[in-house]
Structure formats: C-alpha cells, structure tokens
Symmetry: C2
Subunit: 249 residues, 2 copies
Amino acid sequence: MFPSREDLHEAKRQAVLRQAATSFNARGFHATSLADVAAGLGVTKAALYHYFPNKNALLAACFDHAMALCFACLDKGRAEGRNGRERLLLTLSGYIAQIIDDLSCAVVLLEEGALEADDYAKVIAERDRFEKALRGLVREGVKDGSIVPCDPKLVVFIMLGALNWVPKWYRPGGRWKPEQIAAALAEVFDRTLSSTPAAAMTTEVARISGRRAKARAAEPPAPASDPPDPGPPKRRGTRARTNGAAKAR
Amino acid sequence: MFPSREDLHEAKRQAVLRQAATSFNARGFHATSLADVAAGLGVTKAALYHYFPNKNALLAACFDHAMALCFACLDKGRAEGRNGRERLLLTLSGYIAQIIDDLSCAVVLLEEGALEADDYAKVIAERDRFEKALRGLVREGVKDGSIVPCDPKLVVFIMLGALNWVPKWYRPGGRWKPEQIAAALAEVFDRTLSSTPAAAMTTEVARISGRRAKARAAEPPAPASDPPDPGPPKRRGTRARTNGAAKAR
DNA sequence: TCCATATCCGACCGGGCGGTTAGATGACCG
DNA sequence: CGGTCATCTAACCGCCCGGTCGGATATGGA
C-alpha cells in the first residue's frame, strides 16, 4: 500500500490547510470559526487539533505556504526571463496564477495582524525579502534598458496592490479565465514599465487567446539585438515611442 | 451659543465614526471590539449606543461616508480635467488623498462581507456605480485619444487595487508625504494609460516637489491643440512614442 | 489475537464580546 | 425650583468561539 501512515497524515494536514485558506480568504480570519473549517471537511472542530495546535498556527501555515509559492515564482521568473522586465513580469504572472488558481493561501495577506508576534515577524521578514527581490528585478530592468527609469519601491507596491486585489473581483465561473487575467495584467504592467510601451492594449480581456505568452516572452525574439531590450523598434511596430529624457534624475 | 444640542450630538457622532473607522482600518472589523472604539474616545461601550444602534450600523456608516467621498472626488475630477485621462487621474488622486489623509474610512472596503444583507447590497450598488463611472472616464479617454485602447474594466480594477493597497505600506511619519504619493501614483498610471507615455518617471518619490500638479493637468497646456490630448508631441519632448496599431481590436 | 496508537466525536469549560438595563449626573426650560 | 430629557456608567446577560477532555472506533504491528 503506497500511502503510509505518515503520508495519510500529511495529506489530511494539507487538506485542512487548503480548506482553512479558502475559508479565511472568503470570510476573513476572525470571521471564520474552526467549526466552519471543520464543517468544510466533514469533520468536527476537535479533529483539526490533530493537525494544528491552534487557530493561529493554521494561519501561520497559510502564510508560510503562500510565501514559499512566491519565491518559487521568483525563481521561475528569474530563470526564464531574458531581461529585467521579462523576469519581473514572469514572476508576477506566476504570482497571480497562484492567487487565482491555487485556492490561494496568499490572499490571507490581508490579515497579517492576526498573527502572533513571532510568527508575524517571520512572515514580514519573508515578505520584505520578496519585495526587495522584486525591486531588484526592476532596477535590473532599468539598467538593461527594458524598463523606464522609475522608483522601484513605488512600482512594486503598485503592482502587488493590483495583484492582491484580484481576488476581490475575480469570479471563478466568470467570463475571464485565469490565464486571460494573468496575460492581461502582464500586458498592462508591461505598458507601464516597458521602455518601448505598446501603442495599444487588448480591449477585451475575455478575447485573449488561451495560451498566450506572458511578459512578452514569446514575442518575436526581437529581430535585432538580444537579451537587453531591443530598444526603440526600427519603425512603426506595435510599440509606442517615448519622448525625451526629462523627469528622470 | 453656537453649538446647539443637535450640533453637539452630530459632532460626537462624527467623532465616533472617525474613531471606529480608524480602529477598523488598523485591526479589522471583527478584531475590533466596541470597547476598543469606546476606549479610543475615553468613554465606555454603552455610550456608543447613543449614536449608533449597533456595531454593524457603525460599519455601514463608514462605508456610506467613504462612498460619498468617492463621488465627491469623481465630481471634482470630472470638472477639472480637460480630457478623459486627466479627469480619471484627477479623480484617483483625490481618492488616494482621501485614503491617506482623511483617517480613511475608505479602506474598510476590505470587510464588506461583514455587512448585513441589505447594507451590503446598498454599498455594493454604490461601489458598482463608482466603478462604472471610472470605466466611463477610461472609455472617454480612449475616445478622445488621451488614453490608449484598453479594457476599461481591467484597468479600473488594477488602479483601484493599487490604490486600496496603499494603506498597507503607507507610514504616516515616513519619508513619503501624502502629496508625493498621490503625485507619484498619478504619474505611474499616466505612464500606463497615456497615448503619449512618458519616457521616464520619477526615480525617487521622496524627491517629488511638494506642490505638484496631478494628472499632468499643469503641464504646459500643450502648445498646439486643446482639450483632446495633444497627440504625439512635435519632437523629442518628455514623451515616448508608441509604435503602431496592432493588438487593439 | 491483543495491545498500542491514531483518529475522531460529543460534551464541556472559560472568556470575550455584542447588546441591554437601571440608575446617576447634569443641562435646559418653564 | 422641579420636571424632563440627554448623556453616560456600571453591571449584567446570553451567545459564540477557541480550546480541552474522556471515550469510542479503527488501524496496524507483534
């Protein structure tokens, strides 16, 4: 028999965690009782205590899981992107997929305050590390010319805000499929950051083709130059041209 | 004597509301007890019941107030902007100032679920109206050429997400002043939406000059054309040029 | 087969919170 | 001065929720 005793235990633990994350996301941490979580699994409250010592530990585990996923996205983005902008947008695409698809433990991000002091410190530290890494990608993009000069801290805040807000309006059965949303957001962020901003964006998210490369990664590998951004395209492509230096300093 | 009996009552009511909003924002609705709110005002729990029938009514009042401010911003933006993009960005600048400065009742937006059914329906209806209006501004901007073709619904979601996230990272005593943040966000959104995106943005929010026109409203009134966006500037200004049609459909 | 252990349940406890009530205080008005 | 009403408090109630406990059932190893 494959599933050993410990395997089963771990599997159930995961199930509890997922259910808890779902409930917390739906109604908020404080508004969710352990009885709610248990009911969602068809067991009673007391059963949960076989897998977690208390409610706060459950929340902490949600955060840990979410942060782990964040860093996984970061690694993937770093590996697959060809310049700073691509790496950043690939990372964020992954992040959003995680938020939408994965029953998203992540969005619990809203209730950090509910954590106990030491758990809180740990999560915040991790989150800071993640944000610092994103800012690093932005700086990288500015340096290699794929991203316009900007304040990395600010743009990262903006993007994370937009992403973390998604669960507020995303409707699982709705007309916008997760991949479409991820692609659309990447497109908008690309417009914001790219040193060669698009002249137009998709006018209907619902019409974005299913499989669509994110972060412009699949665009023709830029006829001319390579990894560092192609710079102003030869002429009248799908890119807008920015004018002048100014503001930057 | 100026303050009549009713005036005093109303003033205290407002004080209760502000305190409640502050507490709700800080710790969340469910995590805030009425005793907390009362303590913040130096009174006891029972006193609050002279001004609000129950805790939920308090929350509902917060939402009402917040939504009223939203529509005030909208009116102001509509009146002062010279094209769709300006009107939109002015509105959002006001919105953010409200969130940051005004002890922000608004951010309670996160706990809508805590409202009772009928209050909930009312707030959601108002919020939808507001979002619809913003989308209208986007469409307007696309039509008058100040905003690139895009999906209005999506970009509004993105912007509201970014804005509603601000309270998560804004620190009252910090290096970024509220006006700087408002200006910086407007600049980034401008980069995202403008049909003539800037070639660079501010690289340090903390260095943005105090009084700074928002939404590009104060830029030289565009030597040539008028209200509708100046279109691609004559040559090498501070604006990037976008290339081609493509994507739009 | 029998013991040890894991799993889960029903019942319970203690505390905290929303909400109520009775009464004390004081301001206004005739 | 006396009555009325607003204001606010202290004390209390009932409920719900996090957490615990003893016991029932099942599972697996020797």
